[in-house]
Each structure stands twice: as C-alpha cells, then as structure tokens.
Symmetry: C2
Subunit: 244 residues, 2 copies
C-alpha cells in the first residue's frame, strides 16, 4: 500500500528577504504517518522546512517551499506512483504576492486612473501590478506599503484529475465559526476539490493538546469525531484502511 | 562583561493562520555568541522560533515573535542590566500588516473616495484601514487581496536612548547594490540609529558558505572586512573587545 501525505505550511516570497508563511507545526501530518507505519505502508511525505517530519525507512520526505513548488512536486509524484490514498493536510497559501507599492507609487497610479476613467473596476486593478519597481528588497522609506496578492492555483484539485481512483482526504480549517457553518463550508470544499473525506476543524478548538476534528464524507455525514491530534490521526487512518 | 545579542527574524501576523516573516537562520548571531563565550562573557540572547541558538550556561535565551514583542523584550532587558555592548543582528520587519481588503472591498472604498474628492491623498489612504472586515482568517473568495502595511517602530533606536554608553553594532543588509551604495546606506543607518559600528552586507554575496561583510565605524571607515560568517563573528568580537 502506498500513501501520499502533505503536511506543514507553504511560504510565498514577497521579496528576497521576506515571505508570507502559513503556520503549521506539521504535527498532525507526522502523527498520521506514524499511525500508517504500523500497517506496513509506504509513504511519500511532502512537507516544508520548519515542520515536524516522520523518521522511517518506509517514508520518503520531499521538501517544498511555495505553492507552485508543491503543485510541481505533487504532479511529479502522482505521475510516478499510484497512491491508494492522498492525505492533504498541508496549510497552503491561498494568495501569493504579486506586487508591492510604496504609498507614493500607489497614490500616483490610483490618481492616474481617476483622471482617465471612473469608477475604477476590477480590470483596472490588475494594471496596478504592472507598475515598474525594483523588487529585490522593499525599501522601508514609505509610511504605508501596499501589497497586492493574487490567488494561487488550487493544488488539491489536481490530485483527483491525475488519479481519479485514489481516496482523497482534504482539510478545512476555519477560525471561530459555529459548528454548522464549519461543517457546511467543509462539505462544500470536499465537493469542489473532489475529495472523499474532509477533516473539518476550527482554530479556536486547537489548544493545550486539544484539537477537535470532524471527519465528513461525501454525503456530508460526520463519520468520526476526535478531540486531539492523536485521535484525528487514528480516525483518518482507520477510516482509510477500512475503505481500502 | 555582559553582552546583548539579537538574532533570527521577526514575524508579523496577517491573521490567525498567516504571518510575514523575515528570513534569517540566526547562524551569524550564534557564531558571534560562540566567539564571545571564549572570553568569559555573560550573554543575553534574544531570538526567534526557527533560528539557531547558542547553548551555554552563560547564555540566557529570550524568544520573541513580532517587532512589538522585540521592542518590549529589549526595553525590559535594557532596564534590568547594563550592557557593555549590544549586537543587533536580528532581521526586523520594517512593516506590519494593518488591514487586508478583498478586491471588492478595496474597489468599493476607492470609488467612494473618488466620488467625494480628487485627487486622493496620503491622508485618505489611512482611512482604507478603517474598513470593517472580519480578520480572523482572510477568505480565499476574492481574486486579489490588498494588504496594507504600516511601518514598525525602529527598535534599534531605543537601544542608545536607554543605554547611551553601550557600544552598539547594527547590521545593514541590502540586495544587489554597488559596494559604494552599500557603504553609504550602511553609514547613514549607523548615524540614524546612533550605532557605533555597522556591519554592511549584500545578499548576493551570501552563498555557499561565503558571506562578505564590512564593519564600518562612525567616521565611515571600514575597520575590517570578512569573507564568511565565522570571520564576521570574529571581526565583531575582536573589535568590541578592543574597544571595551
């Protein structure tokens, strides 16, 4: 049996010295790997620099930095191997920096827009990213900095495109919402990403060793509930071993 | 003899799951500490989560996250102890996220401005940060994200204010500039920050174990030059021991 796990959090470069990073200790991913390793499973493990990682001869670790590197690495692995299941627990950046403008540059450009046409539209805003500036290291010589970010491609969506028969487990983390909203948003992401299961969790329920998680299937049914990371790992592994 | 060293890189929160981080392995700071430890020095060492740190009974480590926490920690230490020298090698964020706006929110607000007055001024832009949005976790449901950042306080400037008699070593990292520009900018930062020395370096000369650094004094004279991190550490420590 061969399993692909992603864990940790991606970083998107702003310039040569700064990045936007999604927090993730990678602990849950490494616990899922540890739980699978008890069942004679071969694991490909894609992770990031500062995340915890499992140590075993049955685990091959691939380290990536940003969302594009993750997409490339997953494509490569999904073309090389057939996976019985993919557990995509990595916290992936939704946005990547496209342009940074000083307050002065931003004002100049916006006021140029206004002279030409009003109101400003979404299409105009894309032109903001075409202002020519030197991007090696943002100068601190401005009171405000305008950072324009664009959406990253949804990496999870390429998994089922490349391997329709794998069992895909996605993750949905929200912050401080009602359980009903969490479950609804998680189920929606499951449909969008063609996942088979999604682990829904809320940041406010993650503290002091506790971590509430709901495993939801395609029908929106909660197939399991866990109260800490070890239980979440076991729940996912047990569910997948039953399904396989 | 008591020395204060800062090393690593600060992180500024965007929301509950994302931060902007200044890259720094903390290696240079830990080498400076190691070099000082050969001379029976007591070290207070302020650093960040993922940075390398020296291990010794003579080193007390303080971990901080963002620029404000660094400012608070330094103020506390500078009020508690008298330092013979302060080596401020931490990569500190120049900006901290103040507000994030979806493309839709940004357009609405900008077009409201235009209706009322033209051209838009810097003062108007500060109002952008007053748009009410829920900031727990930025929704990915927008094509562009506008992140508005404001300047952080210059932490290094509080050092001489609190301890005028300490010897302060600052750092200036630029990216891909001529040596003349690097030295001029570094000397300017030395004056602004009331530093006694500044270590000027360029990211493009840091690779494969090499790291070119120039130590500059108040007169703008290069008092020493180094070609790797070990040499930079020794140069700084030797210069400070001579001066003390």
């Amino acid at each position: 049996m061969r399993i692909l796990i992603t864990a940790g959090g991606t970083s998107e470069k702003i310039d040569e010295v700064r990045s936007i990073t999604n927090h993730s200790t990678g602990k849950l991913g490494s616990l899922i790997a540890a739980s699978f390793l008890k069942h004679n499973v071969t694991i490909d493990y894609v992770t990031t620099a500062h995340a915890l990682r499992p140590q075993s001869d049955n685990v091959t670790v691939y380290e990536i930095g940003d969302t594009q590197a993750l997409a490339d690495q997953l494509q490569k692995l999904l073309q090389q191997h057939t996976y019985d299941a993919v557990i995509h627990s990595m916290a992936v950046s939704d946005f990547t920096p496209e342009k940074s403008l000083s307050q002065e540059e931003f004002l100049t450009k916006i006021n140029q827009f206004i002279e030409n046409k009003q109101p400003i539209t979404a299409a105009d805003l894309t032109q903001l990213t075409e202002v020519t500036t030197r991007e090696t290291k943002i100068s601190s010589n401005t009171d405000q900095l305008f950072l324009i970010l664009k959406k990253t491609p949804k990496v999870i969506q390429q998994i089922k495109q490349l391997q329709p028969n794998t069992i895909l487990v996605g993750f949905k983390l929200l912050v401080d919402v009602e359980k009903e909203e969490l479950l609804a948003v998680a189920q929606k992401s499951l449909m969008t990403n063609q996942a088979d299961f999604v682990l829904a969790n809320d940041l406010t329920s993650i503290h002091h060793g506790q971590h509430t998680g709901y495993l939801i299937n395609k029908e929106g049914t909660i197939t399991g509930e866990a109260t800490n990371k070890e239980e979440i790992a076991q729940l996912i592994v047990k569910t997948l071993l039953n399904a396989l």
